[in-house]
């Protein structure tokens, strides 16, 4: 361990000799824990033994329902919250650990952050807002205007420098916040639901912009959201959190197509669930088979020991079902249409099977030609590769 650091010293400690971080890893948190005490005395484990790492140019998304600890984890990394346990490195320096006692204040961690409420300071013009990090970090005075102008241009609001923020729309304010966090060319940027306060339409534009900026600046990002579409679109890695713990950490495809648990499957998208009993363990093609009240389904077992007879839950996503007119020996289900829900780019059919199961089927808009009416009996074929069996 380090020899020098004094207890409680308010600074970061170089970790060259700890070997704790590989060079590309820009932020790393290890076994972080943070417990809060509610006003009624109850303890909440907001972050419970979480380890994450992000490399340069990559984006890690923290995804989970409200209250699962996403914000707390991010704020611990930022230095705005003090963890109970664990270690935090950023930019190759130890920022927090219990022993040796290190706790670098947020301003010296060299991280940038974007907030949900835009947190654009109302008493400063846009240019002053963007200049603030430069001034605080002691950039030479005469370089500042040029850097500010460049940052504003980059986020597409070059002419708004003189405005006060309250004159701007939500989308524009969030652009200011983005420019402000990127103006110092940070190596790490933290995002706490930065887009959840802006219009759905603007949100899409900003998301595209964010990806472009990341590509340009090459920062490592940690991004908190509870919107799974946002998560899947932005992420290099997604960490799905549940009650302070990481339930799954993987690529968007992993998390969406091969969710580790039913919780993850349900959280990152819509899913059909049918109870089933394994009839055949996984064969050469890795596929197993199971009997369901709706017929036999073939699919991937998601746990090692799903031997025949095991009760499982079969999951498949609504868009992995095809409405077919020809029957099939397995993975074919029939049901009658309850109603069709138009949602623009796609439409959802809600069916009920003969034994009362509800099934959701999602179709892309371009098949708009074939329409069905409630009561129609439809045959569905489920792609075997997208059926997953989970132990109960």
């Amino acid at each position: 361990m380090m020899s020098g650091p004094m207890p409680d010293m308010d600074d970061a400690v170089a970790i060259a000799d700890t070997g704790a971080a590989t060079p590309e890893v820009k932020v790393r948190a290890r076994n972080l824990k943070k417990t809060f005490r509610r006003s009624n005395g109850e303890l909440v484990r907001a972050v419970d033994d979480v380890s994450v790492a992000v490399e340069a140019g990559k984006m890690l998304i923290l995804l989970g329902p409200s209250g699962c600890g996403k914000t707390t984890l991010l704020r611990c990394i930022a230095g705005l919250e003090r963890p109970d346990e664990g270690e935090i490195w950023a930019n190759d320096r130890l920022m927090f650990s219990k022993s040796p006692a290190v706790n670098a204040p947020p301003e010296s961690r060299g991280l940038a952050m974007m907030f949900q409420s835009y947190a654009v300071w109302p008493h400063m013009t846009v240019a002053e807002n963007v200049a603030f990090p430069l001034v605080s970090r002691g950039y030479p005075k005469r370089e500042i205007p040029a850097k500010v102008a460049a940052a504003l241009k980059r986020v597409g609001i070059p002419s708004l420098g003189d405005q006060y923020p309250n004159r701007l729309s939500g989308g524009q304010q969030q652009r200011v916040a983005l420019a402000r966090s990127l103006v110092v060319d940070p190596q790490v940027v933290l995002f706490d639901e930065p887009l959840s306060n802006v219009d759905a339409k603007v949100r899409e534009d900003l998301r595209v912009e964010l990806v472009a900026q990341q590509r340009e600046v090459g920062f490592a990002g940690i991004y908190v959201t509870h919107d799974q579409v946002e998560a899947l679109q932005l992420a290099d890695q997604v960490a799905v959190l549940r009650e302070g713990r990481i339930e799954q950490l993987g690529t968007p495809e992993d998390v969406y197509c091969r969710p580790a648990t039913r919780y993850v499957a349900n959280f990152v998208g819509r899913v059909n669930e049918v109870e089933a009993t394994i009839t055949m363990g996984s064969g050469n093609d890795n596929l197993a088979a199971a009997d369901t009240p709706l017929g036999r389904l073939r699919g991937y077992p998601m746990a090692p020991d799903l031997t025949p007879g095991t009760k499982v839950m079969a999951l498949f996503r609504p868009e992995c079902v095809e409405i077919s007119d020809k029957g099939a020996s397995h993975n074919a289900l029939t049901g009658s249409l309850l109603r069709t829900q138009f949602s623009g780019a796609h439409r959802d059919h809600l069916l009920t099977t003969d034994d009362g199961h509800r099934l959701l089927v999602s179709e892309m808009g371009r098949f708009a030609g074939k329409t069905f009416s409630p009561g129609d009996r439809l045959t569905l074929v489920v792609d075997s590769k997208s059926v997953l069996f989970y132990p109960l």
Binding site: D10, F36, S39, T71, R75, A78, G79, L80, E81, R82, P105, P106, E107, S108, L111, A112, M113, F115, Q116, S117, Y118, A119, V120, W121, P122, H123, M124, F132, P133, S136, R137, Y164, P165, N166, A177, R180, S181, V184, L190, N197
Partner: protein
Amino acid sequence: MAIMTQHIPAADTGTRKLSSLLFEGANGLLALLMLLLVLYPIGAMFVRELLPDGGVNIQAFRNVLSSSAFWEAAYNTAIVLAVSGSLSILIGTIFAWLNERTDAQMGFVSKFLPVLPLLVPSVAMSIGWIFLAQETSGFLNVFIRWLADFAGIEMRRGPLNISTWSGLIFVYTLHLVPFSYLIVSVAFRNLDPAYEEAARMSGAGRLRVFLKISSASVLPAIMNSALLVTIVGIAMYSVPVIIGSVARIDVLSVMTVNLVRGVYPPRIAEGVVISLILTAVVLGVWWLQRYMSGRQRHATIGGKAGGTSLVELGAWKWVARVLVLAFVAASTVLPFVALLLVALQPFWSPAIDVSMLSLQHFEELFQAGITKRALTTSLTLGVVGATIGMIVAAVLMEYARDRGGWRANTVLGIVRLPGAVINVVLGVGFLIVLGAPPFNLQGTALILLLAYIVIYMPQAATAAGSAIEQVGGELIESGRMAGAGKSRVFGRITLPLILPGLAAGWAMIFVVMVGDLTASALLAGTRNPVVGFVILDIWENGLYSALAALSALISMISTAAVMLVLYLGRGRLSQAGSFSGRITN
């Protein structure tokens, strides 16, 4: 029509409408009544004194403006106000930040500490400080000299001297801090912590964040507090009369009071002229405040509030706490202890002889018929006046919020106006209008009550207004949409929600009413003497120990009453859970 079978019985609609109409009518009427009550006395006096017989009383203006005494007092007032005002805003802002935004806060108690001075009538605080820091005999001086003696330093007087410029400014500042604290702390409470955190993340240290972000973003509130501090400071009488006159520092409020009630024949016209000038100053500050906050609209974007995180101060936390406690000691504890000491002594003496201490003066207080009656009257007036005043203020501010537009502006203007007129001048106005036929209220408790309500309306309205602002519009509108008329929404939704704010306002008004000196001296009758009246009387002719006993007593009564009300106001809502700051959803 088939679908007319609505679930709204027609009769019910009728009664609801009637009660709503009544409510609105009553509100409008109240606004009108308040308008009369404020404008009529002020107007009548201005007309009588400054526009006698249709001409302008130029002589009064000439007398004032050509008097070197006026200019000296104006200069003194400006200095005292500028220095103590800035200091109190600075201290109030820092305390507000410490208590709302940093880990130096000490729970519920600490939010309460900086407003403690409001519970000690300013007369009592000033007298207490005379006892503490009078140059030769102040307890603190004697104590310090005793300590110095050990160190071999010999002093005959000092080192402190309250009867100086710095002493005067010191006591003014102690008195004004709570006013700025009250307003700025609400702003800090509502300030999105993300503003500060974003600044930390931008590389700014704690100090820079406080200076450039936290206090700058609550600038509108600071301006607002500057307005209140100006109003309170200009009207302040007991501090300068007790401390300033010994130091030969005359200020305009004391000068006005002297002109209006200290000399014979009374020189009311000149008092009115000075009031007019002060009104212009207050309006100027008001305009400045509106201009500044209009220019920089404060954008509070309600994100998810979350658990507000506090700025960690590290070791500075203890420094901050000590500062807050020192302030409480200076403004409340020390003066109170001094008062108590003197009250227990036979007469004020820096040499404390424990064997001589007794409750004699307290006993005499209760024996003296006039003091007993004064206490009863004052406390009754305080309770009734603060209650009516807060209700009126709440109804008016709700009316302003509800109606908006010119009506709101009129109401807001009216409730602030009394703040700009020196109390004693307002008192004369009341005497002129209500003391004369057909009202003939001269010497009654009613005229005092009305005068108190009008005089302290600006404070009441500020408290009620900020309480109402805290209640999100949608909470009220959803009441209307639930089928409740304005009166029911006010009674069942708005009122319970603003109750803690009203309770705090009540406490503040109660204390100033009980401690009022100037209007009381003019309006209190022989049958209903009030405490302020008795205090002045004892101050001018009685024993300091008796005065100390009375001051200590009303401080205790005020504190007890205020604690009780705050506790009740809080208790009512604590069942709804923790309830800090904005009540928007």
